[in-house]
């Protein structure tokens, strides 16, 4: 309780408030620009936070996360191009509504449902994260190892890659984490005598590379896309009839989004898809979906914004990122010397609650920004790519250099960018690579500690109930989709193809 109040009081700092307002505006711009998203925005912002204290640094990164996730809806509705992948389902009904001259109504619903979803998830974060941290406080290395393994196994179902490709990308990320001096034995691994590799490969240059620089190369193939903006008079708050139609969807999607966000490695994109599908499934008029159903926008937007707060739960309480952007924020925490995990709520309670309160404030801020400024922010989509992407590149390179004032980091970012581009070209998602890089060292360290604790009898891990529980979850995450798919097909065959 003390941390809750002192965390709130931290927000009384005018400097922090001004930073949060600027970060919210910046996040809305980033989210509205096709190709840029919350993850890239947070990665590019990270070097700018180096001179700041941890609270403002992490607060503005979370502000970018929340506001950019919302802002994807602006371009989804007005130009039929999701600003972020999490807004892809918003296009389905938002753009048809805009074409019918109801862009203001669609954006109004997007703003309201995003805010409700976001606020709901932050309240859940405030309640759930300390409880989860308290539960994890007594975990010993085998439990932590199994939990980290479970977090990594969730990579199988994220991003736009297939399960096998996601796991390969995650594995390559873990491999990168092993470069450098082994913490347990001080043996140099894969350093090739280079002193720059002695401390390992930095998280931030890799993230700037795979999320920012690789996107530049992806955009090079999309130059022919012409974006036409639908005319919008003014944004309007939803009518009584719209609220009546959508409130159940908003509540349901807020819950779904928060839950999906809490699952390690799952993020707003998965949440919005499930939120949208559930909205359609429970709707009295499912045939309207895809043709301008206001519930479709509510279902998608409430879920994707709710996932932001949810994703911060495992990030702060366990040190396991809940999404790609949360992985960048986790890297930011590490760069600023903050150790996420169960001890955060006992040793740095004020810091943790200050982050929660700032997220809550940002959700209210983007409500105001969205209502008043959506029309203006929609214009940023008209910035020519010939200006935008060279600028992103210069910021990426200078920001990477500024981290450690090291040209080696610049080469790492460039190499990661090129590798990230080819990975995406061949159908691999780069998100597992980033998460694998963050969790790789932790995984090996906890395996080593477990082996010491269990006297090198690894099979004893299966005799510990909680460890076994996480292993079962890991197996379900890895093989569940294939298993359930086979069962579904067999059921379908046995019932003559009628089973859904």
């Amino acid at each position: 309780m003390e941390g809750l109040i002192s965390g709130f009081l931290v927000l009384a700092d005018p400097y922090l408030l001004a930073l949060l307002v600027m970060a919210t505006l910046g996040g809305v711009v980033i989210g509205a620009l096709p190709g840029l998203n919350a993850t890239t925005g947070a990665a590019l912002l990270l070097p700018f936070t180096l001179t700041m204290d941890p609270v403002p640094a992490i607060s503005i990164m979370t502000a970018i996360y929340c506001s950019a996730t919302f802002a994807g809806a602006i371009t989804a509705i007005l130009i039929n191009t999701p600003g972020t992948a999490a807004s892809a389902t918003t296009c389905l009904d938002g753009y048809p509504l805009a074409q019918r001259g109801e862009a203001g109504r669609a954006l109004g619903m997007a703003v309201v449902s995003s805010t409700i979803g976001g606020v709901f998830s932050v309240i859940c974060l405030m309640i759930a994260a300390p409880f989860l941290a308290r539960a994890a406080y007594n975990f010993s290395p085998p439990e932590y190892f199994a939990l980290t393994l479970f977090g990594l196994s969730m990579l199988a179902s994220i991003g736009d890659g297939s399960a096998i490709k996601n796991l390969i990308a995650g594995g390559l990320g873990i491999f990168l984490a092993l470069v450098g001096v082994d913490n347990l034995t001080t043996v140099e691994r894969f350093t090739f005598g280079s002193y720059e590799l002695y401390d390992g490969i930095g998280f931030v240059p890799v993230m700037i590379g795979v999320f920012g620089i690789s996107e530049l190369l992806i955009q090079a193939a999309n130059l022919q896309i012409v974006r036409e903006q639908v005319v919008m008079k003014a944004i309007t708050l939803p009518s009584k009839a719209d609220y009546k139609k959508s409130w159940r969807t908003i509540v349901r999607s807020s819950g779904i989004g928060t839950f999906i966000g809490i699952l390690p490695a799952e993020g707003a994109t998965v949440a919005s898809m499930i939120g949208y599908n559930e909205a359609k499934r429970w709707s009295k008029n499912p045939e309207e979906f895809g043709h301008g159903a206001i519930e479709g926008i509510a279902g998608s937007e409430a879920a994707n914004n709710a996932a932001t707060g949810g994703a911060m739960v495992p990030t702060l309480a366990l040190g396991i990122p809940g999404s790609a952007t949360a992985a960048v924020i986790l890297a930011g925490l590490m760069v600023h010397g903050v150790r996420p995990g169960p001890t955060m709520f006992t040793e740095q309670a004020e810091f943790a609650y200050a982050i929660f309160w700032s997220m809550l404030l940002v959700n209210i801020l983007f409500f105001l920004v969205g209502l008043r400024g959506a029309k203006i922010f929609a214009r940023v989509t008209l910035i020519p790519v010939q200006i935008l992407w060279p600028t992103v590149f210069v910021f990426s390179i200078v920001g990477t250099y500024a981290l450690d004032q090291s040209m080696f980091d610049v080469w790492v970012a460039l190499t990661a960018g090129v590798i990230g581009f080819f990975m995406r070209r061949y159908g691999f998602s780069v998100v597992p690579l980033a998460i694998g890089l963050i969790l790789g060292g932790m995984l090996e360290q906890r395996l080593g500690q477990s082996m010491v604790m269990l006297d090198e009898q690894w099979w004893l891990m299966f005799t510990r109930p909680l460890t076994l529980f996480f292993f079962i979850l890991t197996a379900l995450a890895l093989f569940g989709p294939a298993l359930f798919g086979t069962l579904k097909r067999r059921l379908s065959n046995s019932t003559g193809g009628t089973a859904e």
Partner: protein, 157 residues
Amino acid sequence: MANLPKFENSRFERWLAPCVIICFCSVAFWISTTFREMPPILKRGIQPADFPQLLLITIILLTLAMMVFDPIKLRENFNATTAGSLGLFAVFGALTWIDLFLALGIFAAALAALWGERRPRILILVGAVMPLVIFLLFDQIFEIRFPRGLLTNLWYG
């Protein structure tokens, strides 16, 4: 490059990625066999090579599984602009040896031109004004000292 026959290109690239991954993992595995073995009292649970080897074998097996169950399907052919942008990365890398900001300016202007920008004022904005503003921002506000080079020497003296 954009006119290359799609099928040929796809067939080559479909096998390229798994082969690169398997070769990379095999070489890394071989390197890991050269890691120093720790005596039992110092090994702290696992040998330095154990975890990397376990991981590399897993990646190789997953890659083989991918080749069978989920082969790479290319969505589009390699675009000339993308190839040109990649080429500019190499130019940027080479120019950084002369000066980081000279390299950034040339890269930014050349990328804008490659992507179809022809207006000189925009090319100057992207290639000169924008890198200069970013340099001053980091130099004056964040107090970052950039590596010395042809242009930065003019500022640092």
